[in-house]
């Protein structure tokens, strides 16, 4: 570990003379403060990994148990919406990364532009997600709320399933599709919740960025938010293949 904050005398001296307004009193130097908040953000992301870890575990076990049900149920997802959303999210990650760069190089208008783009892309993502959700609601594929097995017992009646030439599932296996949809809603819902929080913070940041708050050299907030945003992106990078893709061909 090479992070030991052994400070040289000069550094201390320098720090004492120039206390930027955003330096909190209990830090000796700005570097220390930035390192600390950055590290804290990473640790927070660790807790997020473990939080989603529980859901991934449940998904893997149940998928392994009820393979045909998971295959049939995943055919209900629209791979085009999913791919489009992946592109949207990756783009938003890119604009976010560019935003961080703009902040670091003190380009105010660039930063505002990037943040706004990220904000909008986030909204687009949620919009598409809403379309997808409403499809599920229409088809009664929301677990716990008048869940309907129609598409699985009689796939010929359902264009989404017919398109894959699905065979009807036995009743007991068809019932297990509810588990798939539960995990689908739990995972994407939890992800969407993170997006909503992120978008809210983005809105606040755009507001502050226009006042020039992040282009004076103090960029930790933007950077840390960037970490969060990319993390949410990574979760999606895994959700996309797990939920939409891996049973596509069957």
């Amino acid at each position: 570990m090479s992070d030991s904050p052994v400070l040289t005398q000069d550094a201390l001296e320098a720090a004492h003379h120039a206390h930027p307004p955003y330096q909190r009193h209990h830090f000796e130097t700005m570097d220390q403060q930035n390192d600390a908040t950055n590290f804290a953000m990473w640790l927070f992301l660790l807790t997020e990994i473990m939080f989603f870890g529980g859901l991934f575990t449940a998904y893997l076990i149940l998928r392994n148990w009820y393979y045909p049900a998971f295959v049939a149920a995943s055919h209900q997802l629209n791979v085009y919406w999913g791919s489009l959303n992946t592109l949207v999210l990756i783009s938003s990650s890119f604009t976010m990364a560019m935003g961080v760069w703009c902040a670091e190089t003190r380009r105010k208008s660039g930063l505002v532009l990037c943040l706004t783009l990220t904000f909008l892309l986030g909204l687009v993502f949620l919009g598409i997600k809403t379309i997808e959700y409403s499809e599920k609601i229409e088809k009664h594929h929301v677990p716990g709320f008048h869940y309907s097995l129609q598409s699985f017992l009689n796939p010929a009646s359902d264009p989404a399933a017919a398109q894959y030439g699905d065979k009807p599932l036995a009743l007991d296996m068809a019932r297990k599709t509810e588990l798939y949809f539960f995990l689908y809603f739990a995972m994407t819902g939890m992800h969407a919740l993170h997006m909503i929080i992120g978008i809210a913070i983005l809105g606040f940041m755009i507001f502050r960025a226009r006042a020039g708050a992040y282009t004076t050299g103090h960029v930790t907030f933007v950077e840390n938010f960037g970490l969060y945003w990319h993390f949410v992106d990574i979760i999606w990078i895994f959700l996309f293949p797990l939920l939409y893709l891996i049973s596509r061909h069957q």
């Binding site: 036995a170 009743l171 007991d172 296996m173």
Partner: protein
């Protein structure tokens, strides 16, 4: 409250006269488990004594009065290694020994007599192969391996017989099993040890271990008329399982004779041994494992048959196996009621002969 103290006094006297540190050893496994238990007690006592000796003797020798100035010592790799390796070694011995016992308790011998136990809030129901059932009690013969196949209808329960040193969780939706061989006739506690709701502490009963003769008498006196397999046979007919599982050449389902214990090839290419758990699953969620060569047409009976019913069906299908019957009769006929021996499939479902499948 006032009469508590004389009562207590009586108890104290009684308790002191038959003071026990562990329950009676009434099963084959009990002395083995106790041997390991006392080994660990011994190691713990030695370890504890060492710790106490070190602390007290240092406290006396190096109290400030006797030893005003401390001598700084950095540490000692040798000592450090000693108290890493010795406990580790001892712990590993316990691990291996414990694992051996664990496997013994949960690996029933092939000739064990099987009793089904269903747990539900808040009672135990035991079903003997001869069709006798009992609530919150279990009668078993001594000197004879008994296998319990447990399942729960609702929440987790745990079937515990301290005097036999065995315990096994009854899980909703899945069979578990445990076995024991009682050695001493007597009446012992039966507890539900897994917290299962309001009346958890009343989900208790008795295990009565009796000599084979007494057991036979008991069986005869508490028979309900038809054996478990016969109950199963009746269910098999009334649920019209035989519509598909029959001996006709155009039968839509596989013949079930000899299925129990055989290795089945599944449509996924895997093979699987058809044990109790498999048969249960085949009835409740048939599409979970599709036998090769058959369509997944069997309907699910989830929600239509109680766990007792499933047990009867399982027992029936088990006994459709003539090989099994042969093997079983060599060890058990003398103990089973007459009817059990003849519980061969009758009428429409006369599968069995010559229909060796898979």
């Amino acid at each position: 409250m006032s009469d508590i103290s004389p009562v207590l006094w009586q108890f104290l006297v009684k308790w002191l006269t038959n003071f026990a540190l562990f329950p009676p050893e009434a099963s084959r496994i009990a002395p083995q488990m106790d041997a390991l238990y006392f080994f660990i007690v011994l190691v713990s006592l030695v370890g504890l004594t060492i710790v106490i000796l070190l602390v007290t003797s240092f406290s006396i020798l190096y109290s400030k009065k006797r030893h005003p100035v401390a001598v700084q010592i950095e540490g000692s790799t040798l000592l450090e290694a000693t108290w890493t390796i010795i406990p580790l070694g001892l712990f590993l011995v316990m691990f291996v020994w414990g694992a051996l016992i664990y496997f013994r308790v949960y690996t029933p011998p092939a000739n064990a007599m099987n009793i089904y136990v269903v747990g539900k809030q808040w009672m135990w129901k035991a079903e003997h192969p001869g069709g006798q059932h009992e609530i919150n009690a279990l009668h078993v013969p001594i000197n004879r391996p008994i296998q319990l196949t447990l399942i729960s209808q609702d929440v987790f329960h745990s079937f515990s017989i301290p005097a036999f040193r065995v315990k096994r969780e009854a899980i909703p939706g899945r069979y578990t099993s445990v076995w024991f061989e009682a050695t001493t006739p007597g009446t012992y506690h039966l507890f539900c040890t897994q917290y299962c709701g309001t009346e958890h502490s009343h989900m208790i009963g008795e295990v009565v271990a009796m000599s084979p003769d007494d057991y036979k008498k008991w069986l005869a006196s508490s028979t309900s008329g038809s054996s478990l397999a016969q109950n199963g046979e009746r269910l098999f007919a009334s649920l019209s399982c035989n519509a598909c599982h029959n001996t006709r050449p155009d039968a839509r389902g596989p013949s079930l004779a000899n299925v129990y214990g055989s290795k089945l090839r599944l449509s996924t290419g895997q093979t699987i041994t058809a044990d109790d758990a498999y048969i249960r699953e085949a009835i409740l969620s048939p599409s979970q494992h599709i036998t090769q060569g058959y369509a997944p047409i069997m309907p699910t009976y989830q929600g239509q048959i109680s766990e007792d019913g499933v047990i009867a069906l399982v027992e029936y299908i088990k006994n459709l196996n003539s090989d099994y019957r042969v093997q079983q009769t060599t060890t058990t006929t003398d103990l089973l009621p007459e009817s059990e021996g003849k519980a061969a499939p009758a009428g429409q479902t006369s599968a069995g002969k010559g229909m060796v499948n898979q």
